[in-house]
Amino acid sequence: MRENRWLVVLVMLLIFGVIFRIDLLVALSTALFVVLGVATWWRKHSLDKVTYRRKFHYIRGFPGEKTRLQVEVENRKLLPISWLRTQDPWSRAVGPEDDDVLAPSHIPDRGILTNVFSLRWFERTRREYKLMFRKRGIYAAGPVRLDSGDLFGFYEKTKEIGPTEYLTVFPELLPRSYIELPAEDPFGDRRSRRRLFEDPNRPMGVRAYHPEDSFRRVHWPATARTGQLQVKVFQPTSGQVMVVCMNVSTFSRHWEGVYPELLEHLIRLAATLVNQGLQEGYKVGLIANGCLAHADQPFRIQPGRSPKQLSHLLEALAGVTSVVTAQFERFLMREAPRIPFGATMVILTAVTSPELAQTVIQLKKHERRITLISLAEEPLPQIPGITCLHRPFKKLLIENSKG
């Protein structure tokens, strides 16, 4: 019912009734004014103080894992809501275990988590679902659309409330044996994990002076306070840094398109490398000539070893798209100066070319330590000083189909 149209009709009826002294029309129009007024007021406040919350057990995970979702809806006011429909846009890749729970949507691979509630005053209700992480990616849930109306069903009201929440599905990790790196570098037998250098830019404390200390290191203010010679202590810096450089191109010419399975395998391999690197005690970073969703620039993650570094890296890999932002060789040369000196560059590519070989040789000339892992069909030429590993993707497919 259109409010304005009914209002006009009722006003005309009222005027007509008044002019011609028809009690019935006056009574009828007044009564309808009251009824529609009550309905309008109810509709206006029906969605006030209504909250919709999603509680996830896990917000990130690997493909095949499950998590619990609890949807909680609360009516925090005196006015009851006889009907409330919630429509929450949801990606099928992280949808409920039972596919039929999601209502179909006009957007491919997306559904709508629909619920209907009836809430009395100050009532809260919850529903639980089991979600399944199916495919790598970062998926948004929400904002949710609330539909309600007055008690009598004259009018309806719709409201969208946020926030949008994100579920992340990491790339699957490959078995450790897949890489089979040689014993030298970067995950070899060398056991000196903490090859320490001191960073003179980062003092981290003071200690008493030893005869072998240089006078340049004396901390004079501390010496004055204590009355004894004190020297600065600098923060140790580990020399074991690894940066994974990923080439998201799956064909040598960008107009040839994308080979999705190969890209997924590349990303899985990158994820496996960063995981192993962190486990081995390396500071691991990541750069790629691909971009994340809703971005158009390549991304980089500085090497680190904090407890959250792995999740940062895997989240970035979860969000990588097939869009190539720059030619890989040029990208490498541009990014190389930003990579810490002494870091090992692990170049991961599905496409090899003479230009790439040239670039690698040039980087080697700048005293970069490089390991090159190729997924291309053709084996790589041997480049002196560079560790090359050839893991053709097609061979893997054949092996998998046989196995």
């Binding site: 896990y58 917000i59 980062r202 981290m204 204590t226 004190q230 923060q235 904090s306 407890p307």
Partner: protein, 311 residues
């Protein structure tokens, strides 16, 4: 008596701190238990102001220590220095010899300096050159931490974090509260005009009264079960220690007393559990990777342990 004093303290602190009833109440819990507080929050939220206001309201002395990488232990505890005029050693007390100490950015100092403060927190005395100097009573340390992702920080080890009774999150003020802050601090600084509403002696006496708050036997078991449940959870690598159990027990008593009761309810224990236990847990890397937060884990654990009730 405790409830009345708590109400006076709260009203007094609220002349400076707008809103934040929960944070103030938790600080009072720590005062009554003579425990220490860990404040983790974004800059500019009022951590220092809260500490100062609390100290002023309690009538206690207040010192602030800004922790830096080159801070020495003696800068915290004090040192003996040779007075050339008097030809004898004199003890110069460090800032820790105050009743309320605000240790700002404690994780920027070296582990050695951190230990100096933490030992003082635990033993309530400092020993310098063989001479023991007891710390004043009541003694409350409010420590703040920087986010650990930044370079140049030394995260407190779990054993040291365990010494803090409570972790308080102050949080951003609401829109209305932020407006009130602007109004309140428009012309005068209410902190400088704040008067005390109690005395250190009264606080100590209230601490003794707090110990008289009744904790029924089944509730004691409940506290133990909650603590033990944190050790059995697969998503927690390091659960709550017996010290945490004790902390939960004492803080529940204090909370009940602040509410005006002389007995503890299971709701008091549930109320205190997140603040007492969250900072002491170390969650497993797998759970952390999947985005689990310690506060969520505590909520799940508390929701799974049965409450001692008939029926």
């Amino acid at each position: 008596m405790i409830a009345e004093v708590a109400r006076r303290l709260r009203e007094n602190v609220q002349k400076v701190i707008v809103g934040k009833d929960d944070a103030i109440n938790l600080a009072l819990v720590a005062v009554l238990c003579e425990g220490h507080i860990l404040l983790e929050d974004v800059p500019g939220i009022g951590k220092t102001t809260l500490a100062r206001a609390l100290a002023a309201s309690l009538g206690c002395s207040f010192r602030r220590i800004q922790f830096t990488p080159d801070l020495l232990p003696s800068d915290v505890t004090g040192l003996s220095w040779f007075n050339q005029k008097a030809q004898e050693f004199e003890f110069r007390a460090g800032p820790v010899m105050s009743q309320v100490v605000l240790a700002d950015e404690i994780n920027r100092a070296t582990p050695r300096t951190q230990s100096a403060l933490l030992e003082a927190m635990q033993e309530r005395q400092v020993t310098i050159d063989g001479v023991t100097h007891p710390l004043p009573r009541p003694f409350l340390v409010m420590a703040t931490q920087n986010p650990v992702e930044l370079e140049g920080t030394f995260p407190l080890p779990e054993a040291q974090i365990d010494r803090f009774l409570l972790r308080i999150l102050i949080g951003y003020p609401s829109e209305a509260e932020e407006g009130q802050i602007l109004e309140r601090f428009r012309q005068a600084d209410p902190l400088s005009e704040l008067q005390s509403v109690t005395t250190p002696e009264e606080i100590q006496q209230l601490g003794s009264e707090r110990q008289e708050v009744r904790v029924e036997v089944s509730l004691r078991d409940y506290i133990v079960r909650v603590a033990r449940a944190t050790r059995k959870n697969d998503e927690i690598q390091l659960g709550a220690s017996p010290r945490a159990t004790m902390a939960l027990y004492q803080s529940s008593q204090a909370w009940a007393a602040i509410q005006g009761r002389d007995y503890v309810l299971p709701d008091d224990i549930k109320e205190m559990a997140p603040h007492v236990l969250t900072h002491r847990l170390m969650i497993s890397p797998q759970a952390q990777l999947r985005g689990r937060q310690p506060s969520e884990l505590i909520a799940d654990i508390v929701a799974s342990v049965s409450v001692p009730v008939e029926g």
